[in-house]
């Protein structure tokens, strides 16, 4: 035990030494071999990629791969989504309203939620949808809903069977695992450019990108659901002579249902958040007004559209969570409760049919009434609030912003980006070796060298500086709040709505208020990352602190430790592994948002991705930036994972 501790101290001293050497080197060699490159300039690799992209664009109508494979897929998926849109959001040819007007859609959704969960959630869902209408976002909301529902349907159709298969069969799981792991660390932004290239900007590319993002989540949770079934009932069913099929249909699936519905919830939220961001490659819906507002920095409009996204997310989350809770017990209603429910179902059904018919006949029920549209007013209020806030809290929004940038961000960027690339690469590899071992060090060395060869080294380091600082802030906040929540139920209760919201809302909507407060700066991107990543870290730290053996805390307290001593000497060390895993998750979440921060003036790789999207002559640079993001993500993930793994068994 003492030897292990000695070794650990040893390790931290090494890290410290390394950092000092690094800073000295970076200061001495400042500005040498930084590989800085103006945005508008291509490197040989990005030039080649740009040419490749334009050749693909030219080939779309000729190459057999497109004619017989990609184009048919594109057409089928586009037709599928358009069909859903024509029901609830887009008027058919020669018509002014879609197949069903707003009142009909509202009732149908309310009824579906009532059937799958309960009346309260149904009313809440309808209220939230109405609120989207009041914001003046009805049609955008319906577009997003149509896209999300279509994507969720396809995700489940593909993900559930594959998930079940992977749950039942270890070999299949082994094949899937690397893909699933990679999918967990890929930020949403990197999916966009390659898919838009193959499937053209538009609905099909957006949907397919969404599927690629959400299917792994569905597979992962479904496989877990099947895998973690209690062994007893399954063994009993085998002992009675069930065939494999009977076992699956009559035992495994019914028992896994609860967890699988949880998977539906996660799949839905993932799909929604992706559909919003997919506005960048032409997805219709709420993402569009958000992007527009971000581009021209119109706070009011951004807030209105962002709020609609929030409402829709909360609605989809509540509706699917209520279904999970309803399925929490296998016990079914009997007698009175069942009769009551039947009456409810019939009444609701009749009301829904009436509403649908009305919405096809009467104008006020067909088109969301202008009198109920308060979008403009809400936008101007939001503008006013933002102005008031930025002027009143000038210290926080501007002074602090500048202080932070000058004191922390610039020096860090100096060390990472503004020193010779080989110094940084070697130092990161050495750090990886100390923290994660030789394998991780070699991997880091190789992947970072690839980044250098691609020619995006400098931008990658600019992103990395922001990522590291945002992660540091996230960890500080996460540990403080997490320890508090882990130690006190009251704090945990108070935090819960924020944590829930943090896990529900698409990353994109954080940009709007942050941009309003801090302007288009790197600091804004960092704040965004912290907001997005902190909830998950708080949760993991709180779970870790709570999960420690209570006897240990009791023993320490009875030995006369102060609360601070209990926290620092018992609870935090005991939850070290969950802290490190929290850091890993925090990093991944921060990475996802920092690259989106390219939008709010953060520069770095995210900016290149977005520029590549709009300028064909830089398309290759955008693709390369996406690749660099992936490589950076893998390096960061591997290093933190390895350190968490190592802390798991101090003996080895």
């Amino acid at each position: 035990m003492t030897r292990v501790r000695e070794l650990l101290r040893h390790k931290w001293i090494l890290v410290l030494l390394l950092v000092v050497v690094w800073i000295v080197l970076a200061t001495v060699l400042k500005g040498v071999h930084t590989l800085e490159l103006p945005t508008a300039k291509n490197t040989p690799v990005t030039q080649w990629l740009t040419d490749f992209a334009s050749s693909i664009r030219g080939n779309r109508t000729e190459s057999p791969a497109f004619v017989y494979f990609f184009n048919p897929i594109r057409a089928t998926i586009a037709a599928f989504i358009e069909a859903i849109r024509s029901v609830i959001s887009v008027p058919g040819a020669g018509n002014v309203i879609p197949l069903i007007g707003w009142l009909g859609t509202l009732s149908i959704i309310g009824y579906i939620v009532y059937v799958t969960s309960n009346l309260r959630t149904s009313l809440l869902s309808m209220g939230l949808l109405l609120a989207c209408g009041v914001l003046g976002m009805w049609t955008f909301t319906m577009d997003t809903l149509a896209m999300t529902m279509g994507a969720v349907f396809l995700s489940l159709a593909i993900g559930l069977p594959l998930g079940i298969w992977a749950g039942l069969n270890d070999k299949v799981m082994k094949v899937f695992r690397p893909g699933l792991d990679l999918a967990q660390i890929l930020p949403t932004l990197v999916y966009l450019a390659p898919l838009a290239l193959v499937f053209l900007i538009g609905i099909a590319a957006a949907t397919i990108a969404t599927l690629i993002y959400s299917i792994p989540i569905c597979i992962r949770i479904t496989a877990h659901a099947v895998r973690s079934l209690r062994a007893g009932p399954v063994e009993a069913a085998v002992s009675m002579g069930s065939t494999k099929m009977q076992l699956l249909r009559k035992v495994q699936l019914p028992m896994a249902k609860q967890t699988i519905i949880l998977g539906v919830n996660q799949t839905t939220l993932a799909a929604l958040s992706f559909v919003v961001i997919a506005a960048l490659i032409g997805a219709p819906g709420l993402g569009k007004p958000v992007v527009d507002a971000l581009v021209i920095r119109n706070v009011g409009d951004g807030v209105v559209a962002g709020l609609a996204v929030v409402f829709l997310a909360v609605m989809l989350d509540r509706a699917t969570t209520a279904a999970v809770i309803k399925n929490n017990t296998f016990v079914r209603d009997t007698g009175k409760a069942r009769t009551k429910r039947r009456i409810g179902l019939i009444v609701g059904g009749v009301l829904t049919i009436v509403a649908v018919v009305l919405s096809r006949q009467v104008l006020w029920a067909a088109v969301f009434p202008e009198q109920l549209n308060f979008g403009k007013q809400i936008a101007s209020v939001a503008d006013a609030v933002a102005t008031w806030f930025t002027t009143t809290f000038y210290f926080f929004t501007t002074t602090f912003n500048e202080y932070f940038t000058v004191t922390f961000l610039n020096p860090l960027e100096g060390v990472l980006a503004n020193s010779p690339w080989y110094v940084t690469v070697i130092m990161i590899a050495l750090l990886a070796a100390i923290i994660g071992g030789r394998g991780v060090a070699i991997l880091s060395l190789v992947l970072l060298t690839i980044v250098v060869l691609i020619g995006l080294w400098n931008d990658t380091m600019i992103s990395l500086a922001q990522i590291l600082l945002a992660t540091l802030l996230t960890m500080i906040i996460g540990i403080v709040l997490g320890v508090m929540a882990g130690r006190s139920e009251r704090v945990e209760k108070a935090l819960k709505p924020f944590l829930d919201a943090g896990q529900t809302l698409p990353a994109f909507v954080y940009l709007v208020p942050v941009l309003a407060l801090f302007g288009p700066t790197r600091f804004a991107a960092i704040v965004c990352g912290v907001f997005y990543a902190a909830p998950v870290v708080v949760r993991m730290v709180a779970d870790g602190v709570r999960g420690g053996p209570p006897e240990m805390v009791e023993a320490a307290t009875s030995a006369g430790s102060t609360p601070v001593q209990v926290i620092t000497k018992v609870q935090l060390p005991a939850s070290k592994k969950s802290l490190l895993l929290g850091a890993n998750q925090g990093l991944i979440f921060v990475l996802a948002v920092i690259v989106i921060g390219g939008f709010v003036g953060a520069g770095g790789l995210g900016y290149l991705v977005i520029v590549g999207q709009s300028k064909p002559e830089l398309a290759g640079k955008g693709l390369a930036a996406g690749l660099a993001i992936v490589l950076l993500g893998i390096v960061l993930d591997r290093i933190t994972q390895a350190s968490a793994r190592r802390s798991g068994n101090p003996g080895g």
Binding site: G232, A236, A237, S239, G241, P254, M255, F330, V331
Partner: protein, 363 residues
């Protein structure tokens, strides 16, 4: 003497279950152990040398039709593995298992399923009920997968529900029942197909002591009424003695002794078995013939006469009432006498006295 029921080398086709040289080795090179010098290593040595666990090692026994055969041993001694090997829920590494003369290890998958559906049934320590099904559908499950129509299988399920005292609970869900009631469902489910052999793996270990006693009585009653062959696993010797016709005691995967409850108490094969039997009240297990002794000087032979096969506890009231030597007779043969003092000496734990006499008289 300790080997009351010697096991012949060849399997016995007349037995309900006949197990010969059964092995189960878990681990990376499991099939390279049996039949090699490795098989002679102890469990620990084997684990250190090869990383394999010999969960069941060279076990042989026969179970007669209608018998309750108990396998007992400490946790980790291989009981669960053994019982699962008998129905191939776990695939044995070597050996043979005959059920009513049929070699189970050679059965095809479909034949095995058929056997499981019609001949075997199993009761589990943690019940293993299907949480999403009502009691009645849990009980009817094996009939359902066998293609029995709903009406017929519910009728049968209701019969068994009555049989195990679950009247009125057919529409409940398992999570609504107490542990004892859940295990009644487990029993009912096992009985529903009218199996030839029942396997019970520590069926009552998860229950409170009072409920456990009820359930033991219930199983004994069912056995009396239905006469099923049972293989009953337990780690509790008192339970084993109560329900078992014969008991096999396992240690580290091997059977160390096999015999009737009385054999085990009177003649533990080694310290391991003796450790188990120490706390068993001898008067509850031993029969009169075990303490009958020759008439001493000054004693008369005018007391009442009792059968030598009577359990001492049951004979005690008569002996106390007689206040003098009681004659012990078995199969028309006079075995000796027993006085109240002899009984008291036995109950107070004067073991040597008993074994000394046992050695003199013999059964």
């Amino acid at each position: 003497m300790s080997d009351e029921t010697p096991v012949s080398a060849a399997a016995d086709p007349a037995a309900a279950i006949s197990v010969r040289a059964l092995w189960k080795v878990f681990g990376p090179s499991a099939d390279k152990v049996v039949g090699t010098p490795l098989a002679d290593l102890t469990r620990k040595e084997l684990l250190n040398e090869t990383g394999c666990v010999a969960a069941v090692r060279d076990v042989s026994f026969d179970v007669a039709p209608g018998e309750v055969f108990v396998v007992m041993g400490l946790s980790g001694s291989g009981k669960s593995t053994l019982v699962r090997c008998l129905t191939r829920l776990i695939e044995p590494t070597a050996g043979s298992v005959l059920v009513s003369g049929e070699d189970i290890l050679k059965a095809s998958p479909s034949r095995l399923r058929e056997l499981r559906r019609t001949q075997f049934s199993m009761v589990f320590q943690h019940f293993g009920l299907l949480p999403h099904r009502r009691v009645i559908d849990n009980i009817a499950y094996s009939l359902e997968i066998n293609g029995v129509k709903k009406e017929a299988r519910h009728a049968r399920a209701n019969e068994v529900i009555e049989l195990v005292g679950l009247h009125g609970y057919g529409n409940s869900y398992p999570e609504q029942l107490s542990g004892g009631m859940q295990q009644r469902v487990g029993l009912a489910r096992a009985l529903a197909v009218d199996p030839k052999v029942m396997f019970l793996d520590e069926p009552f270990s998860a229950l409170d002591p009072l409920i456990r006693r009820d359930m033991q009585a219930e199983v004994m009653r069912l056995h009396r009424d239905l006469g099923k062959t049972m293989v009953f696993i337990t780690h509790d010797l008192a339970e084993a003695m109560k329900v078992g016709d014969r008991i096999a005691i396992m240690r580290d995967g091997a059977v160390v002794q096999m015999g009737t409850p009385e054999d085990l108490v009177a003649n533990p094969a080694d310290d391991y078995v003796a450790d188990f039997t120490r706390d068993i009240p001898k008067s509850h297990v031993l029969c009169l013939h075990a303490i009958a002794r020759p008439l001493a000087d000054g004693e008369d032979l005018d007391g009442p006469e009792l059968d030598g096969g009577m359990v001492i506890r049951d004979a005690t009231p008569t002996i106390l009432e007689a206040r003098r030597a009681v004659k012990v007779v078995q199969n028309g043969q006079f075995l000796g006498v027993v006085t109240p003092d002899d009984v008291l000496r036995l109950i107070s734990g004067d073991v040597d006295a008993v074994t000394a006499q046992e050695a003199e008289t013999g059964p």
